[in-house]
């Protein structure tokens, strides 16, 4: 594939990878802390790839307007301008227990080779080096059909061999991890970072390098990953953002350039 001459950032690359993977039959929740990337991915998918996807916010507005990203983030007030309907805490409980949200997005302080995510404690949980923000809703990692992991940094201390604490179960300890824990859904499908895209090997459920972003080498990924991912014989280049995707990002979803910082 010829190298794309278009200029884009790693954040825009992650957004496009996730957006292309979303489908009409999906039902997704957006909102909550630090969610620029899934928010932009859902916005882009609605415009280009999955117009029938159901979207709802943390405060349970169904199919809301998705106003452009702001530098200070989408504060709560961004979401209540227009929507199909509003719900309440009852719907939130129901939606997370029953898996009304079929797709979800998680980031983490630590992410490990099986896609387990830590948002609570780095170090010993009884005497942590870092007490993280926690996670509002770990249930969706169990009830949603699948979830995406996105990393804001690709570093050894983020992508670790084993998380110090499992806030959200990925594949836990291997192919039988979720089943043994009584979980019926498939869990993490993709892990997208500033350098690469990983999926999970079917037999071991360990992270496998799927593609490296344009301009990134496999060595660079290895050097910055705290575990040994499965490296297939051929590693492709992540399809870069297209002109169409970038135009929508620049004009409608992110005119202020939050993802271009």
């Amino acid at each position: 594939m010829a190298e794309s001459a278009l200029k884009f950032t790693w954040a825009e690359q992650i957004v496009c990878v996730i957006a292309r993977d979303l489908r009409d039959e999906d039902s997704v929740q957006v909102g909550g802390a630090r969610h620029d990337i899934p928010y932009a991915a859902v916005s882009l998918a609605r415009l280009l790839y999955a117009p029938d996807m159901t979207i709802f916010t943390t405060s349970l507005f169904w199919n809301p307007e998705l106003p452009p990203l702001r530098h200070s983030g989408q504060l709560a007030s961004a979401f209540t301008l227009m929507a199909d309907a509003k719900g309440s805490g009852y719907d939130i409980f129901e939606s997370s227990e029953k898996g009304v949200a079929t797709v979800f997005f998680y980031s983490g302080l630590q992410i490990d080779r099986y896609g387990n995510i830590n948002l609570h404690f780095v170090g010993d949980p009884r005497d942590p080096v870092i007490r993280g923000p926690g996670v509002v809703n770990p249930s969706r990692g169990v009830s949603a059909k699948r979830f995406y992991i996105y990393a804001m940094r690709h570093e050894k201390r983020t992508l670790v061999e084993k998380v110090d604490f499992i806030s959200i179960a990925g594949h836990i300890d291997g192919p039988d991890g979720r089943r043994k824990a009584g979980i019926k859904t498939s869990g993490p499908g993709l892990c997208v970072t500033p350098l690469a895209v990983f999926d999970f090997d079917e037999s071991t459920k360990a992270m496998r390098l799927k593609s490296v972003h344009q301009g990134v080498s496999v060595e660079q990924v290895m050097e910055n990953t705290g575990f040994q991912p499965i490296i297939p014989r051929e590693v492709t280049v992540t399809p870069p953002p297209t002109a169409e995707e970038l135009e929508l990002l620049h004009t409608r979803i992110d005119p202020d350039g939050v993802l271009r910082r």
Binding site: G32, A33, R34, D36, T58, S59, L60, F61, S72, G73, Q74, L75, A76, S77, T80, K86, G87, S88, G89, Y90, I92, F93, S96, E97, H120, P125, P128, I130, R131, P133, G134, V135, V136, N137, P138, S139, R140, G141, V142, S143, F165, I166, S167, I168, A169, I172, G177, R178, A181, G182, I183
Partner: protein, 303 residues
Amino acid sequence: MPVKSRTPKLATVDECLSLMHDGMTIATGGLGMFNKPCQWVREIAKRRIGNLILCSSPQASYDADLLIGAGLVKRTNIAQVSFDQLGLAPNFRYAAQRGLIDAVVQAEATLAGGYLAAAQGLPYHAVGTLKGNDIVKLMSFAKKYTSPLGGEELLAVPALSPDMAFIHAQEGDEFGNLRHLGAPAFDPIIARAAKVVIASVDRIISHQRLRMEPEKTTIPSRFITKIVHLPYGAHPTFSPRHYVEDEEHLRNYIQRARQSLGGHAPEAYKEYLEKYVYGPKDVFEYLELIGGVRRLTQLEGVW
């Protein structure tokens, strides 16, 4: 024949807070950065009612961080305390990390389940989605069990009935019927779960007008103990269709807390408390301090 009329539930801040005392379990409504009962939190802090067990809807922000910063909280039951995109909650993080408070690890499902059980008068609620993680191991309050109707492994979350709940809505009448103009979030459940429920509203509307549109009432007066008119009572958080978050004020708050905890300016946070919490005699004085009509007009004008 003389007939009797209905007794209003309109009250003063003092009347409401005379019901509160040290060591109580209290809950704050709203969610994350909207409808937080911020003026109630400031009034509680001003009266130094302490040793509190603080619950919230699953996401807290300014409400929890301020009560912790004022040294009034011994335990929290909240899934996440943060200022969303503006950053982590400095006082919560500091106190939780150093064990100055007992920050009980909770998730949306365990808190919502606890409130739902209390609202329904049940001893516990089943939660089926906390599996495979380490969170459950820290939840000594909950108990794993097998469904008596078939083998599924579930978690029993005990009913959570706060002694007092504080809720902020946009509108309400003198009898305590509330109207949330945005999402009511967990307020209707928390109101049904708590023993005493204190509401504040930006605006009191006439009972007659409210009755003409009963479909707009989000919490009926049956579940409200007292209602107080506290205009802009959710400031600096967001009050749907009334005013947006005061980002500038929130940034100043976060920065002052960080400066104090980091030791760069040990007095910075205390100055915040002195100026905005302990100093003002009522909500109107507070509103003058945050910039008065000029600032409030800006926060409203965004609509």
